[in-house]
Amino acid sequence: MRDSANLSSTSQRHDSVVARVRARRLRRSRKHQGSAITMNIAPMIDMTFLLLIFFLVTTTFERAEGILASKLPTNAGRHTASLPLVPIVVRVQQAENDGHAFTLSLDGFDAKPTTFAALTAVLLNIQAQPGFDDETPVVIVADQDLQWDHVVACWNATLNANCQRVAFGD
């Protein structure tokens, strides 16, 4: 008797489980019928991967390039332009013992700046003196063997001192 009762309760449980599964499947099928439009994201992910690989391969992290502009004397390269004011002559020379080192001096001034930042400060001091201003021409005279990096650094130092008229001399 007890066995038959157990069997009937087991079959009832089985029936209820089957009914629940059927109901769930029905709900699912109705749900799918309601939203038949699906988005296949696989091509989008493929494209994104391709873009990512492209940018990974092509990207180079570099410092930005800018331009320093200056006037050149025209018509004849070796002729010097006439300067109405007495120019400040900045001499940049290669140090004798070290090919990469340099020395700075200014004609007519005692100051001997050792760095280009110091040169900017010296030029600002000179501009504050009577008879000089930011319109006073500055002529950079560099050693022929001096590295171009130092010449540009010297030019940049004059621009940092707000010098409006910078020229290169021989």
Partner: protein, 151 residues
Amino acid sequence: MRHERKPRVTSSGISFNAVPMVDVIFMLTIFFMLVSRFSSAEQIPMELPKPEHSKASLAKIPERVIINCRVNNLLSKEFVQAVYSIGPNQPESLDVIARRLAAMRHQSPNLKVIVRADRRLPYAEVREVMRMLANNNIDMLNVVAHVDEEN
């Protein structure tokens, strides 16, 4: 609003949720798209001057020609010599470059010349380019240097 998709449960019980991976890939793609800068073929890789507190400006010059002055690597390291080229072209002598410049300026008189010189070159090598430009009645010297990182 993002709809969270439930991960598909396989027969083995191990699921794969692709959503975080797609999110990360999108983020990386957007980052590289914003960061990458397409360099022109005219800008041959070289060591440019890096002055402190650089006053170099990021000005866009529409009509321009770039003269590259690179270090000639074929020679010994002690003797640094320059090779000159217009943009991505093959290296040429300064006389040839001067003739080409004259022809270009005949076609477009407002042409601006930008000099990209390697920082290791001796001043005399760049000075030759400056003389050549002056002889061609080019009154503006535009020299390329690195821009200050603080700007």
